[in-house]
């Protein structure tokens, strides 16, 4: 049985998706510009939001998970594509130095390695992840998370003049 994809012209679909999310979850912010639906959501209901995206709205593809280290807090962006022109961005912000969030591997199995990479680079712990290991860095004696702003590299160029 093949995968059924929505028809090709993304006319009313972004609004339809926004409706689907609005009446199922309490969203902090939400907006539609062009073919992109942007949602800002509380971290603990992220798996629920993605579950509705996957089951109810048939958005099949999780493109990537971006983690941004806003020094005090971490900003996660889940980019979902429905493979026919519309993309949905679910954004959350996790406070504190030790970010912990539920995993979405159960809903989108492709998130497995994205979350492992996020853990390896930022230390974001994903509760319930099948094998939470480092992806890139060597396991034994490297206990830093390199992409944190606190991990200084010695040849940091300072752009005072241009800041």
């Amino acid at each position: 049985m093949g995968v059924t994809l929505p028809q090709s012209d993304p006319q009313g679909r972004p609004e339809h998706y926004l409706e689907g999310f609005r009446n199922r979850h309490g969203l902090e912010e939400s907006g539609v510009e062009g073919n992109v639906v942007t949602l800002v959501v509380n971290p603990n209901i992220v798996p629920a939001v993605l579950a509705t995206a996957r089951e109810c709205l048939q958005i099949m593809h999780l493109s990537y998970i971006t983690v941004v280290d806003r020094v005090g807090s971490f900003e996660l962006t889940y980019e979902l594509l429905d493979l026919r022109g519309v993309s949905v961005r679910v954004k959350t912000a996790i406070e504190g130095e030790e970010p912990v969030i539920d995993t979405v591997t159960g809903i989108y199995p492709t998130a497995n390695w994205h979350e492992r990479e996020a853990y390896d680079m930022f230390g974001v712990a994903f509760k319930g992840h099948p094998d939470m290991r480092r992806v890139y860095m060597w396991q034994d004696h490297f206990d830093h998370h390199p992409l944190l702003k606190s991990f200084e590299i010695s040849t940091k160029r300072t752009f005072e003049g241009l800041r």
């Binding site: 830093h144 590299i153 010695s154």
Partner: protein, 257 residues
């Protein structure tokens, strides 16, 4: 070569056998299939039809290190790969050479401030020929192989002591991993030079017929006048600005480098 070790300075027997075996080794340098990154693609196109490395007898790329003579380090050596690279270097049988191909293998290249990149393959294994470029053109790699052939031609079995690979400490005891300090230094992006690798004496001179003697330096042609005041840099070895001794203290003091 038991009999060769008996003599301590070259004589008629060793020089003639050297000439024969060096001719043989020069003409059948089998590079190990050790492609790391983008330079591996240029290494492959060197072996392909357009510019053919097989013409020099070096076209047979054995996949196992046991049957190869040259290790062409083509690409970025990360710290995680450095340990594998030294193990591969150890597994190669003795008359072995290393060509560091590409800026990454020479000195870390465009990833200078990478936290997991080893600043050059010569930090862990002795390198014979450096082929600059990012990635170097296939012709440059062929020029590197020809340069290595010239170096192999002048090899001597007696009276020339090859530098020890990195995984063997002063008293000859094997190390399993790179020493802790090696990891530490790297994560701050300024890995110290590994001090018990003595830099190779740069005795190599590239003979080009018809060029003035001064031009035959290894640092490329230098104008006559400038060359003179440089003290004719050809004789004394161009050692780096003084390799610092890092073994004693932990390199956490930032101001030192």
């Amino acid at each position: 070569m038991g009999v060769m070790q008996k003599f301590n300075e070259p004589n008629i027997i060793t020089t003639s056998t050297d000439k024969l075996f060096n001719w043989a080794r020069k003409n059948s340098l089998w590079p190990l299939q050790f492609g790391l990154a983008c330079c591996a693609i240029e290494m492959m196109s060197t072996g392909m039809a357009h510019n053919d490395l097989d013409r020099f007898g070096a076209g047979f790329f054995p996949a196992s290190p046991r049957q190869s003579d040259v290790m062409i380090v083509s690409g970025t050596v990360t710290t995680k790969m450095a340990e594998r690279m030294t193990r591969l270097y150890e597994q190669m049988p003795e008359p072995k050479w290393v060509i560091a191909m590409g800026a990454c293998a020479i000195s870390g290249g465009p990833f200078l401030d990478g936290y997991s990149v080893l600043m050059g393959a010569d930090r862990v294994i002795p390198v014979d020929v450096y082929v600059p470029g990012c990635p170097p053109r296939p012709e440059a790699l062929i020029f590197g192989v020809m340069t290595l052939q010239k170096k192999v031609e002048r090899d001597q079995q007696v009276g020339y002591e090859k530098p020890r690979p990195a995984l063997v400490t002063e008293d000859g005891e094997f190390l399993e991993y790179l020493p802790e300090r090696e990891y530490g230094g790297i994560s701050e992006g300024k890995a110290p030079r590994f001090e018990n690798i003595r830099p190779l004496k740069r005795t190599y001179v590239f003979e080009r017929e018809g060029m003035p003697v001064a031009a035959q330096t290894d640092v490329g042609w230098v104008p006559e006048k400038k060359h003179a005041e440089q003290g004719g840099g050809q004789e004394e070895p161009a050692s780096p600005k003084g390799s610092k001794d890092y073994s004693a203290k932990k390199p956490e003091s930032k101001d030192e480098s």
